[in-house]
Amino acid sequence: MATQDPIDELFKQQAEAYQPQPSLRSWRRIERRIERRRRPGLQQLGWVRAVAALLLLSMAAVAIWQLDNNNATNALAQQASAVQEVLPPEVEAAPASLVNYAPINEGDVEKDLIARYVPNPQFRAAKAYRVDRNI
């Protein structure tokens, strides 16, 4: 279909005949690029090394930090092994109205407020801190 078009014919005939000689500089440029690809320069290698070292270092830092963190929480957990917090862990996802904690005035200074997990109404958390306020 396309080949019957006179314009198509006209162009196909002659287009292939056009073969200009590229400048010598073009080959030099290609040569240089191939050369560079073949053996990466010292600079490039140094760069790769620097990145690798940085990556390793940051990974190590993260690992150490996490280890440290674990130990800290473990120690705390051991200390409070006999008691349990009043609030179950879901408190983090509690509604916004619960977030606005007020300082606790009762009790000793510098002491954590903890409560035994016994169903004793005397030890219940203040109403504002209860997850389920209907209890």
């Binding site: 006179p6 162009f11 056009y18 200009p20």
Partner: protein
């Protein structure tokens, strides 16, 4: 040294072989590229980029189909990428008035387009028309392939080709080239 040997030598990274391959195909490929990108310096940039890719990806040439066709596709792709980078494919400049004096006289007499006239005529076309015309008429791509390559619809490709041919016919008539329908 036949073509397969030459390709293998290039794969092995032999500089003489690479030079030979370049010398064998560079003029033809520069001709291909210049039909898309008229400016010689820009066309040579594309040639350099294209040949670097050829040597770099030579391992992926599986020997099926012609090697020249494989190189050619790389060059056409590079040329299109260059056009895209220049955002030239979005621009549509109008056909300027063609001065017949700029075209060779001999070709007219022989009823054949002279080689350099092709380039001039192509250059007069808006970039979008020219690109579709090149891809379809000279490279033999299908409209579906052109649509994929240029990120346009198949219908746009078709209509651009029709418009390109229309412009080309007008230009040729102005230059008194005989257009005879078979």
């Amino acid at each position: 040294m036949n073509e397969a040997d030459l390709i293998n030598a290039c794969r092995a990274g032999q500089p003489q072989a690479q030079r030979k391959l370049y010398e064998q195909y560079a003029p033809k490929m520069l001709g291909v590229i210049r039909r898309y990108i008229f400016r010689l310096d820009e066309a040579e940039d594309v040639l350099v980029e294209g040949f670097f890719k050829v040597f770099d990806k030579l391992d992926s040439f599986n020997g099926q189909g012609s090697f020249e066709g494989w190189i050619r596709r790389i060059m056409v792709n590079e040329a299109l990428m260059k056009l895209r980078k220049k955002h030239a494919l979005q621009k549509a400049t109008d056909l300027t008035v063609i001065n017949p004096n700029h075209f060779s006289q001999d070709a007219k007499v022989g009823g054949q387009l002279a080689v350099q006239d092709i380039l001039r005529l192509l250059e007069q076309l808006p970039v979008g028309y020219r690109t579709v015309f090149n891809l379809y008429v000279i490279e033999g791509y299908k409209h579906r392939e052109i649509a994929d390559l240029l990120g346009i619809s198949i219908n746009t490709s078709k209509s651009q080709l029709i418009l390109a041919k229309q412009r080309m016919r007008e230009a040729l008539e102005r230059l008194n080239y005989p257009i005879t329908s078979k």
